[in-house]
Amino acid sequence: MNDTTYVQALNVAGGLFLLAAVGMLSRRQITSMIRLFAVQGVALVALVAVLGVHQHSLELMGVAAGLGVLRVGVLPHLTRRALGAAPAERRETSSAVNIAGSLLASAALVLLAYAVTRPLIALTPSAATAVLPVTVSVVLIGLFALATRHNALSQVVGFLLLDNGITATAFLATSGVPIIVELGVSFDVLLVVVVLQVLTVRLRSTFGTTNLDGLRELRD
């Protein structure tokens, strides 16, 4: 892969990665949020694979394949299963901020990400680190979704968005943390989603809904 195509491939994958995140903020339907999450997983795999091809690293390409199985296959599948047989009208999430407000906020978060990543890019300027503002934006957008969305499953998707952003940051900045740490991290994320899936099922059987507005017993 020559340098121009490498840079272009990185930018295309990075762009898709951010677009999917912003797209999730523009959706109320949880099913389409999950679909966009899978699309984002594809973009993440593409980012890692491009890095792997560029560095002639078989290990990175293997990691990309593993990430693909986890983030395009298993995690969206688990989230969709938690959605289960919920009636159609319950498959929408309410949000503390409306769609237009969310999109404006995401624009502001992208600007913020460009500001905070300047020291990171200055340390080693390269085509890979130039994409860091995009991945950090996704982290911030994930946090925003977590804080504003009121449905249990949309919070799960928010958490996964946050995690996608961090994983992409790790690969772009350092070509990935040591393999044992990466394995532990992926396993932990998978377990968190399993735990949240079980809790979602219990929430639905206890409260009759996965809307978290009903959770107001515990407060001071």
């Binding site: 340390l123 740490v181 532990g184 991290v185």
Partner: protein, 492 residues
């Protein structure tokens, strides 16, 4: 020998978890759990002797490592784990859980203890992170053990907030790895606590500042520091009492231990001012939140949870001070608070069972006259938490205040202890209301189902109280370890 010393604290609780999984929660597996915790305690003692004599121990291909600081933490975790395992049969016997649920309780409790051991003994930040996230995963179902709507709500908040906070800490970890790689460290050594501390002067200040900030906020959330503390009172009040004891007594400090380790790196890479400012801001805000919410508190388990936030706030003040005296006081405070809070939570579990599962302060009156043994143990634990001598908390709070004033943070210390005083008054008033006064007329009715609180149930509580007082009177058996551990973090 070294390998065994480092693997046993992880493996012993794992074996106990496997036994519970295979045979269910019975008298024999419960006893096995206590044996595993005692084994861990013996191992921690041996490790402490070893590291004070001949320095750090490394094993398992460099993944596990123990120095004086980790030995001290392991000692505290093992002691509290022993008390919690010892008190578990009494707690479960009073509940009406099915065999299926108690089996899971046993499995998850021991997995939880094992995960904390991994966190403390992890030689690198990456493995530490994985272990801390594992504690969130295994405790999620322990928090939701009672299957009530409130327990479910607490479990949900706990997993979502803590996992996200820990994810933020992971971003910090990644950035630290980035700058360490840039500084020439290779592979997994670039996340190694010891290597990072030794080559901290090579790290890029701009990136390290972001990394340290993210890691402290993320791990701080797990330690109960503001701004991501909302899960704490819910989770600690809804979990079964022995689990609350472990979560409040040691899990908070295990997360706080990461802040101490990061401080070693940050102080060299950025100078002490950056992290000191950050920690002081976090400490004062945490103390403010805890004090304000304690004043109006009507639920005694939530009261204990907010008291944990208050104590973590004081530890953070000590860490911000950063002198050797301050760090030694913080480490002593970790032990003193861990033991006293364990006794208080274990006591609260029995109080709950004697009052129809109501955790309302108003439902408990005249405890000291109705159930003197329980009232006495709970009252003494609260006195210890309030900082009365001879409890270790008295000595450590004095140490934190003295070290802070000596280092010239008189204002911060005055503010912090002023807020702690507010918390003190609120705690003392509520505890007094629970222990004293005349018993409500119908108090006997609710207690019918609860088993009598005899000496067998009281033994773990009394042991905890004896330990916290002994540690307050003299620290000579652990003095060398404490000094060595403080020297690892403390300046000068």
């Amino acid at each position: 020998m070294e390998t065994l010393l480092l693997i046993a604290p992880v493996a012993a609780p794992l074996a106990a978890a496997a036994a519970c999984g295979a045979a269910g929660w019975r008298r024999i597996t419960a006893a096995l759990g206590v044996v595993a915790a005692l084994l861990m305690l013996a191992d921690a003692t041996a490790l402490a002797l070893r590291v004070t004599r001949s320095g750090p121990v490394v094993a398992a291909g460099g993944l596990l490592r123990a120095d004086a600081l980790s030995a001290w933490m392991l000692l505290v975790v093992a002691t509290v784990a022993t008390l919690a395992c010892w008190a578990s049969p009494g707690y479960l016997a009073a509940g009406s859980d099915t065999g299926h649920r108690t089996r899971w309780y046993g499995v998850l409790l021991h997995l939880f203890i094992s995960a904390m051991a991994v966190a403390i003994l992890a030689s690198n930040l990456g493995l530490f992170w994985v272990a801390i996230e594992a504690t969130t995963i295994v405790t999620a179902f322990l928090v939701g053990h009672h299957r009530t709507p409130t327990a479910l709500e607490a479990a949900w908040k706990y997993v979502v907030i803590c996992s996200s906070a820990i994810a933020i800490a992971f971003l910090g970890t990644v950035l630290l790895y980035y700058t360490a790689r840039h500084a020439g460290l290779e592979g997994s050594r670039a996340l190694d606590w010891a290597t990072l501390s030794a080559s901290a002067h090579l790290l890029d200040p701009g990136v390290t500042r972001i990394a340290v900030g993210l890691a402290v906020i993320g791990f701080g959330a797990k330690a109960g520091l503001v701004p991501l503390h909302a899960w704490l009172p819910d989770a600690h009040s809804q979990a079964p009492a022995p689990v609350s004891a472990l979560m409040s007594g040691v899990l908070l400090s295990v997360a706080f231990y990461a802040v101490l380790r990061i401080k070693i790196i940050a102080d060299v890479a950025l100078g002490p001012a950056f992290l000191r400012t950050l920690l002081l801001v976090l400490a004062i805000s945490t103390l403010s939140v805890a004090a304000v919410l304690l004043i109006g508190q009507r639920d005694y388990k939530r009261m204990l949870a907010y008291s944990s936030m208050e104590h973590i706030g004081l530890m953070t003040v000590g860490a911000a001070t950063g002198s050797r005296l301050a760090i030694a006081a913080v480490l002593l405070h970790i032990a003193g608070h861990g033991l006293a809070k364990t006794v208080a939570f274990l006591g609260s579990g029995h109080i709950l069972h004697h009052h129809g599962n109501s955790s309302d302060v108003a439902a408990v009156r005249g405890l000291a006259t109705r159930i003197p043994l329980l009232g006495g143990a709970f009252g003494l634990a609260m006195l210890a938490l309030l900082g009365f001598p001879p409890a270790a908390v008295f000595a450590s709070e004095l140490g934190i205040a003295r070290a802070g004033s000596a280092a010239g943070f008189g204002w911060a210390i005055a503010g912090a202890f002023g807020l702690a005083l507010l918390a003190f008054v609120a705690l003392a008033v509520r505890t007094g209301a629970m222990l004293l006064g005349t018993a409500p007329a119908d108090a006997g009715g609710a207690a019918v189902h609860a088993p009598r609180f005899g000496f067998a149930a009281a033994a773990p509580l009394i042991t905890g109280l004896a330990l916290v007082s002994a540690l307050g009177v003299t620290t000579w058996p652990v003095q060398r370890l404490l000094t060595a551990a403080a020297a690892i973090v403390g300046a000068r």
